[in-house]
Symmetry: D2
Subunit: 359 residues, 4 copies
């Protein structure tokens, strides 16, 4: 249940860590779009492990194969199946952990929910599940870019206690973001973040952080009143990512401290359209895009799997000590940047197609 | 589109500010439950305007009528239709506003999306839309309480810049919350918050704030991996409420600043079940409830409609001054407390029914 | 569960026989359409009991009230709530039946499924449930007519063993259909059908029959490949009506006896479009409308509730004799004509909105 | 759009004739079930071409590979991805047809709907799309058999104008069905049918036919009132199959000719449960299974692709002659037998899981 997202631009993901592969079916992508594996591989490369010393040293190529839905490099309007083979298809590597549910991991809840769980690697709670999302999101993003000129850019705005300065929402680009391995566009902050991650790694510990994302050039009118408000769909999408603990749009939690007279965004004329002077709303009013940049922030907790010895209990309640072996990310936040962009693109593409029924 | 929420416990709301009424259809409520209007009216009374001097002086009784789905005080398992008549069924009171979209309100986006909008009162973005939700949520909550002993309690944890101290998640009750009109369980903070709201009202201004909510006694196993994680569904539900700008669960944004060794929740034995020593996770791991209290916070922006004169533009782009007339809440946060509880109940009832397929 | 139909043009019905009322919420109707109760009442009048001596003598006015979603006679794009009050709101009239499940009625299965059932009148399996559908269908039909010029006409093509001759699919009108109380457009057959129904009534027995329906002027391209083929959605919609036992489109069951060389519909030029010479396909190819008339037939079993004494068993298995009291239709087929049109309109409106995402 | 079926037991298919492969994702299959490729291959083998001289001589092995969702031969409760590679991955073999839409095929409607279509083989309207369904259906069937003892058996009851005699719904088995290549359990009728198919093949023509299916040992209570009635969901599922034109359940179209007193199914005691003496209802009352066998019939038109020369028009409206080249089934009905069983299993598994929320 629940591996499907969207109403008209609909995706269904599948796959665990050590099965034959992970993948996705994209149903509802418009026909006649140019599409080859190269369009998809770029974002997959940005999310894969082994890109830098900041991430797990596992080297996964994660090459995508389009199984269906295109012919001669064009989409047919039919479901696009995509598959990324798992390099390591041997279940059982983490076998020794099996009697001890890892703290703040999904071992315990999966076991209780299903009465069984993948012997290793986190099953569907594994970060590898996001591969299917990213492959689908690359298509959604291409559609949005070609049809509306939409630009989606995410970056790391904090790692642990190190905050980067604010960025220019109107101007920031992926190129700027990718200049540092940590994907913070500010050189100094980026260096501090990288040092913090390496220090955490050496201490067999982990760090969390915050990703900010902006979506520019959205058409006015995306988002459905009530339960499918643009921000509601974004919040669901972001909180569906592993390790996320929070979402805020526009002024967010800090905006609760302002008075209405300060917080309201007055209308002004911007070229041939009505815009707003400030953008505390984050580009949405009443759940519907208003033409200003949509921006939001997503909180990621520190990675649960750490090499330090932890005092915990096994399934029988017996006190045990646990220290994770193997190759783990001390901080997943830099690799989560393209995944946040992905989820935004998936939500926006779906809402854009829904809005077309009103044209 | 989009007025329906849920998979098995499914609700569909309808109604604007000045039509004949607002209501809801609840489809999927289990049969054989005792249910009369009295079970529903309690939460509706907690959300209605005119409860205290903190809210709009509009006095709306909001009496609910069950149209279908019960007989002799028991649910039949069939859709429960419910209706609350609108006292004021005259569209047009706010007519003078019609050429000027109110800043940070939905006037502009509705007009652009639909090419038409309700002449007054905000249409589906109006707070009256939440009446149907609250009526449905009262049923969901009764189901959860009777079947599992679930307790859901929300309260105001900040208003503007005034923060209440932390509450005991294991113990706090609605009675404690309702002791103050502002619904903050701490006497001193409550008094300060009330003064701040009255001061904002007198200044023809408005305030926002934060609501915290805890759900106790949830069974283990609620929430579906990937897109219907418990926290993803909660986030969608909360961000679907008018005026919300953020959601965080467990350690939330602050948790991003902790190291993994500190943030992880070690397992310990709690009576006959495995629990966790700390609860930074907020009761969910891998998107699935683990038996610990689920708690989360929701950010509400300051009310957009204020009596102060605002400089803005009309639909034609002409600069105008706008001052809202009529009766407005200087702060919606206290009245939103039962609505946050409602949305939590709706999400949890749906996930509880879905999980039953695995029993 | 399951009282909701449609993806973009979405309806949710509620109500039993003896509760306060029956109704529907229509979500997704385009904004800016002229709509008042008068647009809806026409089809409700065609379905209500008491229209002629052929039907139950119960005289139900079934006046519809629009609760929400319109203002000044125009749709707002928001959910349209509609309610028809039940004249007889006293549960219990059929109380004596309660220990004896009526043969071929839903008493037994509802009791087993829910552990409870409405004390009277069939609950959600009652024909009154279709009132909400018809109200919604009138809106769907208006949308299709105004946007595309779609015409939907259904009629009675057989009652019991009496078959009417074939009708001209291109030309038949509702006026022709309504000339006889039995809604068969052929005068002689209509008279025979009416006599058969009156004879069955006098024998305390009941009759079934077949309704044929044609949908003209559909745009090419409606229907989604695979599970939402136009004919699949129509089949579901028709078999969701009480008392239906079969559906066939185009050549249907008889077409299985033809050879491909005879059955195939060759293409020819028709004005400025490609059409087909014959129409065994019934206006669909690969599940998608091809611009030719869509026509189909629906089988209705004889009414289960009859006045004759029936030998059957009560819930405890004891042999009993049962004779229905009260006012029953000896044949529901004439009144089902507008309901079949309704279901066609609901399916087509939804598929038309879905197809707009491709424009 | 629309490649997804089901609410809790949910499948999503993908793939065309000449892409890399066809497949399916099954989401919602209960955890802990034994499952390997062998469980799935049996039904795939029954549907594949080249089984006998009655079908297309194309020899497709159609070996299924489970990509995800199982470990050590047990289901994990996570999505089960399955893939069948296409043997012939060269698009373009049918290239010469591209300017001439094949009569009664989906070429024209796909082209009009999408503005593009697969260069060959029918795209998603191809029979190969059903491979994913059959793979998924094998899992659904295993679940139903192990959990409830459900037995689903379909057979050919007519080919063209040759009707087989009635079968014993309580006793018929797949072994009896598979004794003849045409899958009619009556020896004499089977021989006549086979001769008819060979004669049609030699005449470069094609035949249709009717498949009957029975589902035994269903628990009471499956099916949801109103739009998800058991027969409504079956009707949708069957009419979603390529080449189907009709569906009838129980007494079907013939039942419309009976009087109610004859058609009604009186209750009698059957062992420890209440059953019915006759079964005109086809095992459903009010859309809900009543414990009697569910049986229904599905009409398949004669194959559209024939070798005979047909007079038709090309896309520009010019009159042309068309004769299909290549390898075609003169009659798809025998191979459709396991596909009808598949669709029944998919519907019933979903409704069985939904009903569990009431336990």
């Amino acid at each position: 249940m629940s591996s499907t997202l969207g109403t008209l631009f609909k995706i269904t993901t599948f796959g665990e860590s050590h099965c034959k592969g992970v993948g996705v079916v994209v149903d509802g992508c418009p026909a006649g779009m140019n599409l080859t594996e190269a369009d998809i591989q770029t974002q997959l490369d940005r999310r894969r492990p082994g890109q830098s010393e900041l991430t797990t040293p596992r080297d996964e190529q994660d090459l995508v194969s389009i199984l269906s839905g295109t012919e001669f490099g064009k989409t047919l309007g039919t479901p696009i199946g995509m598959l990324v083979a798992n390099k390591d298809q041997r279940p059982g590597d983490y076998g020794e952990m099996s009697q001890v549910p890892r703290p703040s991991h999904a071992d315990f809840t999966y076991q209780m929910k299903y009465g069984i769980r993948a012997s290793s690697g986190g099953g569907r709670s594994s970060a590898r599940e996001t591969i299917g999302r990213v492959a689908a999101g690359a298509i959604a993003e291409k559609f949005l870019r070609e049809r509306f000129g939409v630009e989606i850019v995410a970056w790391v705005s904090s790692i642990g206690t190190i905050d980067g300065p604010e960025c220019d929402l109107e101007a920031i680009t992926r190129e700027e973001v990718d200049r540092s391995a940590v994907r913070c566009p500010h050189r100094l902050a980026a260096r501090q973040m990288e040092e913090a991650i390496l220090a955490a790694r050496d201490a067999k510990d982990s760090l969390g952080g915050i990703i900010t994302c902006v979506c520019r050039n959205l058409p006015v009118g995306l988002g459905e009143p009530v339960f499918d408000k643009l921000e509601a769909r974004l919040a669901q999408a972001m909180l569906s990512l592993p390790a996320t603990k929070g979402f805020e749009i526009g002024s967010g939690f800090a905006g609760t401290r302002l008075r209405g007279s300060k917080h309201n965004d007055p209308f002004i004329i911007k070229g041939d359209r009505l815009g707003t002077l400030s953008n505390h709303s984050g580009g949405v009013q009443g759940g519907i895009s208003n033409g200003e940049p949509v921006y939001f922030r997503v909180a990621f907790k520190p990675t649960a799997t750490i090499g330090q010895v932890q005092q915990t209990a096994d399934f029988s309640g017996r006190q045990v000590k646990l220290a994770a072996k193997g190759r783990h990310d001390p901080c997943v936040v830099p690799r989560a940047v393209p995944i946040v962009e992905t989820m935004a693109a998936l939500v926006l593409a779906d809402l854009a197609l829904i809005q077309k029924m009103r044209s």
